[in-house]
C-alpha cells in the first residue's frame, strides 16, 4: 500500500482515540489484530492496517475476530481485537470461556460503546462484560489515555494471564487530542504449549480452572487499589466528591474544577478502599458514569452512600450542561438559567441514501409492492425504513432479517395469510451472521424471498472490504465469495436464485413479483457496487427538461438526494379531484447517471445533461 512510516517516538501527534489505540497496539509489539467494522470502533483497524510489522485483518464477524486474537495469544503472540458494543454480544460465546482458559500472549479487546447512539440500534454498557466474565476493564478519558491504557492493558493481560477489556465510547474514539507517542517494543512469541487441561474446556478441565478465575479477580482487586490508572485529582471543595470513569471524568473536571474527583481508569474490579477514603472526606459522593449505574450499585452494595442515577440521566452522554443543573439541585441550589438563544425549530435532516445508491432501486421497487412484510437488517439499507420508501419493517441485530422472516412465515395467522414475506440484507451482513439464517430458511422450507443487496462493501461504516468484495484489508486481491453458488450450497434451489441489476427497475420488479408468488425459499441478488468505493464508475449525468416536466413527482419517490422540487402547484383533474404537483430539477453536478429517476418519468422529461449520450434504460410502461 505504500503506507507512510509511523511517526517517530516522542512525537506529539493530534490523534483521535481510535488512532491513539492503533499506535499503542503497534508500539506494544502486537502481532495479530482483527476486527469487524462498526461505528465508532472502525478506524482502529483501518489505522492498524497501515502499520508495518503486524498482521491485520477484517474478520467476517466479531466472534471470529476474537477467536483469531485468542489463537494468536495461545501461541504466545500479543493480540488485539476491536468491535463496537453490539459486536461483543456476538463474540460473547468465546469471551465467556476464554476467561476460564486465560491467555498467554497479552490479549486486549477494545469495545466501543456508542453512548448517545450516533449510529447504533441500542445503547448498551459494555462494562457489564467485565463483571460477567470476571475480566479487568480499563476506561480511558481521552486520546492520550487511550494510548497509555492500551499499552498498560497488554502488560496487565500478561501479568494476570487474562484478556483485558478496553472500554471506549464514541467520545473517546472520535475525539482528537494531543498524544505523545513512544517506541515500538516487540517480542518473539514463546510458542504453543500443548496442555489439554488449560486449553480443552471440557467440564473435567474447566471445573478446576474456575477457582483460578476468582483468585485472579482478587489479585486484580488488590492491584486496583494501587494502580496508577486510578488517580485522585484533589480539590478544596469537599461539599462534593466525584467518582468518574471514561469521558465523564473530563466533563466533571470541566464543570466542577474545585471538587475532588477519583478517576477510575481500572474500573473493574473496583478500588473500594480508595473510594471509601474519598467518601469519608466529602459531604456528597456522586458517581458519574456512562451509562448504567454500575459502579454506583457496587458502591452501594459495599455500604458506601452515594448519588448517581438518582440525579443523573441513565441514557446519553453526561456533558457539563447535564451535570451542572443536576448537581445544583442536589445541593439545594437553583439550576443555572441558560442565557443563550432558545433552540430554533429546523426540519430534521436524517441520513439519506447516496446519489445513485443501488439500494434506491430496491426500495423504490419495494415501496411499489402491496401486501408485503419486509424483514430488515443492519446497514445502509436500514435507511429504507425512512421516507420516501417506508419499505423496511424491522431492524434488530446483524443477520436477524433471515430468522425473523422465517419466524413470520411460520407464525403467521389469518391476518397475514395473503402477505409475502421478504427479507432484505446486505452482502457483508449476510456473511457476518445472515447465512446461518438462510440455511435455516432453506432447511426448514420457509416461504421467504431474500433480497441480498451485494454492493461489494461494508457501506455504512465507510466502504470497507469483505469476503464478497474480492479484496482484503489492504485492498489486495483475495478470494471472492460467489453469492449465487453459496446460496445454492445452503439449499436454495438453483432456479430460485436470480442475479439482477438494481438499476433496471422493471427487471427487479418482475423478479420480486415472480419469486414472492412461488411458495418456497428464493434469493434475489442485486449486484451494483456501492457508490462510495474507489472502484465506482460514475456515468454521464442527467437534467430535467423543464417544459416537459408535468409535476407528477414519480421521480421524487425514488428518493435520490440529487432531485429537488423547484415549485409546487395544486391542479384539478377532469374528474374534479385535486392533485399536488411537484416540478423538479436534477442537481447535475451531483448526479452520477444511474438512470433510476428517468424510468418512472412518464413524460420523458429527464434527459442526459450532455445531449449526445444515449439513454440506456427501459421506462415504466
Amino acid at each position: 500500500m505504500g503506507a507512510p512510516l509511523p511517526a517517530p517516538a516522542a512525537s506529539r501527534l493530534f490523534l483521535s482515540g481510535n488512532e491513539a489505540v492503533a499506535r499503542a497496539v503497534w508500539e506494544a509489539g502486537c502481532k495479530v489484530a482483527a476486527a469487524y467494522p462498526g461505528t465508532p470502533s472502525t478506524e482502529i483497524l483501518e489505522e492498524l492496517a497501515r502499520y508495518p510489522d503486524l498482521y491485520a485483518e477484517w474478520s467476517v464477524n466479531e466472534k471470529v475476530a476474537l477467536e483469531v486474537a485468542l489463537g494468536a495469544s495461545m501461541v504466545g503472540a500479543r493480540a488485539f481485537c476491536a468491535m463496537k458494543h453490539v459486536g461483543l454480544n456476538v463474540a460473547a460465546d468465546a469471551l465467556m470461556t476464554l476467561t476460564v482458559t486465560g491467555t498467554e500472549g497479552g490479549l486486549v479487546i477494545a469495545v466501543a460503546d456508542d453512548v448517545g447512539m450516533s449510529s447504533s440500534q441500542n445503547e448498551q454498557d459494555s462494562r457489564f462484560w467485565g463483571r460477567f466474565a470476571h475480566l479487568p476493564v480499563l476506561e480511558p478519558a481521552d486520546a492520550q489515555e487511550a494510548y497509555g491504557m492500551t499499552k498498560a492493558a497488554f502488560e496487565l493481560s500478561e501479568r494476570h494471564h487474562c484478556a483485558v477489556i478496553l472500554r471506549l465510547t464514541t467520545r473517546i474514539c472520535h475525539v482528537k487530542g494531543r498524544v505523545e507517542v513512544g517506541e515500538r517494543v516487540a517480542a518473539e512469541p514463546a510458542g504453543f504449549v500443548k496442555d489439554a487441561r488449560r486449553w480443552v474446556m471440557v467440564p473435567g478441565n474447566a471445573k478446576p480452572r474456575l477457582p483460578l478465575m476468582f483468585e485472579r479477580e482478587a489479585a486484580l482487586a488488590a492491584e486496583a487499589e494501587t494502580s496508577p490508572l486510578n488517580v485522585l485529582s484533589d480539590g478544596p471543595d469537599t461539599a462534593l466528591g466525584f467518582i468518574a470513569s471514561g469521558p465523564a471524568f473530563m466533563h466533571v473536571r470541566e464543570a466542577f474544577p474545585d471538587a475532588p474527583v477519583l478517576k477510575l481508569g481500572l474500573s473493574c474490579p473496583l478500588p473500594l478502599q480508595q473510594i471509601r477514603a474519598l467518601a469519608d472526606r466529602v459531604r456528597h459522593l456522586v458517581v458519574v458514569e456512562e451509562t448504567e449505574p454500575l459502579l454506583e450499585t457496587e458502591l452501594k452494595a459495599a455500604g458506601i452512600a452515594c448519588h448517581g442515577k438518582d440525579i443523573l440521566p441513565r441514557i446519553g452522554e453526561l456533558a457539563p450542561d447535564v451535570l451542572r443543573p443536576a448537581v445544583a439541585r442536589l445541593l439545594g441550589n437553583a439550576p443555572p438559567v441558560p442565557a443563550h438563544a432558545p433552540e430554533q425549530p429546523v426540519f430534521p435532516r436524517p441520513p439519506t441514501m447516496c446519489v445513485a445508491c443501488p439500494h434506491l432501486g430496491v426500495y423504490y421497487t419495494l415501496s411499489q409492492m402491496r401486501n408485503v412484510i419486509i424483514s430488515g437488517d443492519i446497514g445502509c439499507y436500514t435507511l429504507g425504513a425512512g421516507h420516501p420508501w417506508n419499505a423496511l419493517d424491522t431492524c434488530i441485530s446483524m443477520g436477524a432479517s433471515m430468522g425473523m422472516a422465517l419466524g413470520m412465515d411460520k407464525g403467521r395467522g389469518e391476518a397475514d395469510a395473503g402477505k409475502k414475506v421478504v427479507a432484505v440484507i446486505g452482502d457483508s451482513t449476510f456473511l457476518h451472521m445472515g447465512m446461518q439464517g438462510l440455511l435455516d430458511i432453506a432447511w426448514n422450507r420457509g416461504n421467504v424471498t431474500v433480497l441480498l443487496l451485494d454492493n461489494r462493501a461494508v457501506g455504512m461504516t465507510g466502504g470497507q472490504d469483505n469476503p464478497g468484495s474480492g479484496r482484503d484489508i489492504h485492498g489486495e486481491e483475495a478470494p471472492r465469495v460467489d453469492f449465487a453458488r453459496l446460496c445454492e450450497a445452503l439449499g436454495v434451489k438453483k432456479e430460485r436464485i436470480r442475479v439482477v441489476d438494481p438499476y433496471q427497475l422493471p427487471v427487479l420488479f418482475k423478479a420480486l413479483r415472480e419469486e414472492t408468488k412461488i411458495e418456497e425459499p428464493s434469493v434475489i441478488i442485486t449486484d451494483r457496487p456501492c457508490v462510495l468505493i474507489d472502484h465506482y464508475q460514475p456515468a454521464p449525468s442527467y437534467r430535467v427538461e423543464e417544459e416537459r416536466c408535468t409535476g407528477c413527482g414519480n421521480c421524487v419517490e425514488v428518493g435520490c438526494p440529487a432531485i429537488h422540487v423547484t415549485r409546487r402547484e395544486t391542479a384539478v383533474k377532469p374528474s374534479g379531484k385535486e392533485v399536488e404537483l411537484a416540478f423538479v430539477r436534477i442537481e447535475t453536478t451531483a448526479c452520477t447517471g444511474c438512470g433510476l429517476c428517468l424510468q418512472p418519468c412518464a413524460p420523458e422529461a429527464i434527459v442526459h445533461a450532455a445531449p449526445e449520450a444515449p439513454l440506456q434504460f427501459q421506462r415504466k410502461q
Partner: protein
C-alpha cells in the same frame, strides 16, 4: 475574541460531504502550531449520508471536556444556512456567526414533509446574534470547484480568531502542499475570497 488563558470554543456545522470535519481539522492544526492544547470532536454518525454534521473545536492552555455546551461557543461557522440556524443556540449571547447562505435541501423537504426556513439569516439576527452571511457556495463555484467551499469558509473565519489570519492560511496551504500541490493556488484564492466576503459583508451591514 482575544488571546488569553481562556479556552476558545468554535463550532463548525454543515451537512455530510461539505468538508466540515476537514476544515475544523485544519483550524485545529493552526491552533496546535501556536502551542495551544486542543480537542476536536464530532457528532457525525452517518456523515457521508447527507446528515447533520457538527465539529467542536476547543483550544487554549489546557482543554478538558471536548464538548462545547449550549451558550458557550465563541464563534459559529455554518457551512449551510439552515444548519447555522439549527445550532444558533450554541453561541454565547451576542457572539458572532459566519454563515454560508447556500442551501442544501434534503429529501424530506423535497417530499413536502417539512419546510425549509424562509430566511435563516433574518431569523438568526432576530435572536440578537452578530451574523455575517455570504454565498460561499457561489464563490467556490466561481472558482470552478464547489469543493473549495470549505476553504472559503476557513478564509471567512480567519480574521475572527485569537491568532493572525496568516497562521490559518498557512495551515490550509501546507495541507494542500503536502497532498495536492496543484490545488495550492486555487485554495489561496478561495481563502482570500472568504476573507474578503466577510469584510465586505461587515461594511455593508
Amino acid at each position: 475574541m482575544t488571546a488569553s488563558s481562556k479556552t476558545t470554543n468554535i463550532l463548525v456545522c454543515g451537512t455530510g460531504g461539505q468538508g466540515v470535519m476537514t476544515a475544523t481539522e485544519i483550524l485545529a492544526e493552526a491552533a496546535l502550531s501556536l502551542g495551544f492544547d486542543a480537542k476536536k470532536t464530532e457528532v457525525a454518525g452517518m456523515s457521508q449520508r447527507g446528515g447533520v454534521v457538527t465539529s467542536h473545536l476547543r483550544f487554549g492552555e489546557r482543554v478538558l471536556s471536548p464538548q462545547i455546551v449550549p451558550g458557550e461557543a465563541d464563534l459559529l461557522v455554518g457551512f449551510e444556512a439552515a444548519e447555522a440556524l439549527r445550532w444558533a443556540h450554541m453561541l454565547r449571547p451576542g457572539a458572532a456567526a459566519l454563515m454560508n447562505v447556500g442551501r442544501i435541501v434534503p429529501p424530506v423537504v423535497n417530499l413536502g414533509l417539512f419546510d425549509y426556513p424562509d430566511d435563516p439569516v433574518a431569523q438568526m439576527r432576530a435572536l440578537g446574534l452578530e451574523v455575517h452571511a455570504f454565498d460561499a457556495s457561489a464563490l467556490a463555484a466561481e472558482l470552478g470547484n464547489i469543493r473549495l467551499g470549505n476553504t472559503v469558509m476557513l478564509g471567512a473565519m480567519a480574521d475572527r480568531l485569537p491568532f493572525p489570519a496568516e497562521v490559518l492560511r498557512d495551515a490550509v496551504l501546507a495541507r494542500f502542499a503536502s497532498r495536492k500541490p496543484e490545488l495550492v493556488e486555487m485554495n489561496r484564492q478561495a481563502f482570500e475570497l472568504g476573507r474578503r466576503a466577510v469584510a465586505a459583508e461587515a461594511l455593508a451591514a
